[in-house]
């Protein structure tokens, strides 16, 4: 057992955990943030994607102890109160989900890809960047549409803020 401290969705948390604790287990079981999902548990499906220090990673393939001092954002940390994040809103608007299981990871991956590729990211780039996220329901078309729309909306939110 060892003690780990990190900032999760803006709050500092400190817990004593087993060295084997994966980041995803820490989030779901110790912090009860169950929005981050475990799909495959073998680093392939992307349902567990969260942001660590602003970068998307697979939380099933990281030790909680490795996140000492880091800043973690999960799907629960995206919305601003009752107002959804533009990417969440775009997924709803464009019906980019059916069962919804992959959605938290898809949205976290989408926000990351827009941050790296900009609000005008093209369809080809979006599809290539979704390499690490598997959806077994939608066939991806509406997810791609939602990400393009969400990207544009993120761009206009940023402009409005500036």
């Amino acid at each position: 057992m060892a003690t780990v401290s990190m900032t999760v969705n803006g709050k500092t948390v400190t817990k004593t955990v087993d060295s084997r604790r994966l980041l995803v287990e820490f989030l779901r079981e110790d912090l009860r943030l169950t929005g981050t999902h475990v799909g495959c548990d073998t680093s392939q499906c992307g349902a567990c994607v969260v942001h660590v220090d602003g970068r998307a990673i697979k939380s099933c393939t990281a030790l909680a102890l490795s996140c000492e001092g880091k800043t973690v954002t999960t799907i629960e940390g995206l919305a601003n109160g009752a107002t959804l994040h533009p990417m969440q809103e775009a997924f709803r608007e464009h019906h980019a989900l059916q069962c919804g299981y992959c959605t938290p990871g898809m949205i976290m991956a989408s926000v990351d890809l827009v941050q790296r590729n900009g609000p005008g990211v093209d369809e080809h780039t979006i599809r290539r960047e979704l390499d690490g996220n598997i959806c077994r329901c939608t066939g991806y078309h509406n997810i791609v549409k939602a990400i393009a729309a969400g990207a544009a909306a993120m761009g206009s939110v940023r402009q409005a803020a500036e």
Binding site: A2, D18, S19, R20, L22, D41, T42, S43, G46, V49, R55, A56, I57, K58, T61, A62, L63, L65, S66, E68, A109, D112, L113, E129, D131, G132, N133
Partner: protein
């Protein structure tokens, strides 16, 4: 996972002191953690290199591009220093796994693991890079030692990879569509009159060079120069994804694409 002791040293020196009695280094964890979850690895202790900031540096040092062992694939792929010093190299980490894997996986971890289908070993061997460790400097030609094996000692840590500048370099990969590992990946480097061709994904003993292609490309560094040079299928892997003859053919195809892409 089996239980293990966890260490998070602040310096390479401290990390080295912890490497004993079956302890393992944790870099980006993209291979080690899945392997431990499957109980295929059961280290007594995990020594996490994540807190050693000096291992993440990417810099041009005289006539070499020096990439810290803990630089992630995304950091190398997006590095302006890499793009200006050795632009062809950025495409190697850019083709590994998926964006999330690239945000975690590291160059040092990839090279130390020496997976027979990993991308970096081909680039390191073709470019004649030097593996810098906590104890010595090892030429790429002497570093890789068969499947998942290198000449690294048990308490030796890769701190950086040093790539000599002044080469034209290209890498072409036929990725397994599920895993994104190389079914065959070919790295080609031309430096003056010397050409080096290194193949990953195909060899049943890991990464290897192709002297016949090197000789042909040294005469003429064009895709056409290797049209008639056939890769030998003996010693290549055969599995459900591709048999040895298919891989041998892919070596020729990927080598031509790598020459074409060389920059």
């Amino acid at each position: 996972m089996y239980a293990f002791d966890y260490h998070r040293p602040a310096t390479v020196h401290d990390a080295q002191g912890l490497l004993k009695d079956g302890a393992k280094l944790l870099a980006g964890g993209q291979t080690l953690i899945p392997t431990m979850k499957q109980r295929l690895a059961s280290p007594s202790a995990v020594v996490d290199l994540g807190a050693i900031g000096e291992l993440r540096k990417i810099e041009q040092n005289g006539n070499a591009l020096v990439i810290g062992a803990m630089a992630t694939h995304a950091e190398v792929a997006g590095s302006k220093t890499v793009m200006s010093a050795l632009p062809g190299l950025a495409g190697v980490p850019g083709a590994i796994g998926d964006p999330h894997v690239r945000n975690s996986g590291t160059i040092g971890g990839s090279v130390a693991n020496n997976d027979p289908a990993a991308d970096y070993p081909a680039a390191v061997l073709a470019l004649g890079a030097t593996v810098i460790t906590s104890k010595r400097q090892i030429a790429a030609d002497n570093f890789f030692d068969g499947l998942f094996t290198t000449v690294l000692g048990e308490d030796e840590i890769i701190t950086a990879l040093s790539f000599p500048l002044g080469a034209k370099f290209g890498y072409a990969k036929f990725a397994n569509p599920a895993s994104r590992y190389a079914l065959v990946g070919v790295a080609v480097a031309q430096r003056g009159s010397e050409v080096r061709v290194a193949v990953t994904g195909a060899g049943s003993n890991g990464v290897f060079r192709v002297p016949a292609m090197e000789a042909a490309l040294a005469k003429s560094f064009t895709p056409a120069a290797i049209t008639s040079v056939k890769a030998d299928a003996s010693g290549l892997m055969s599995d459900i994804h591709a048999d040895a003859a298919y891989r041998a053919n892919l070596i020729g195809v990927m080598a031509k694409r790598a020459v074409e892409a060389a920059a």
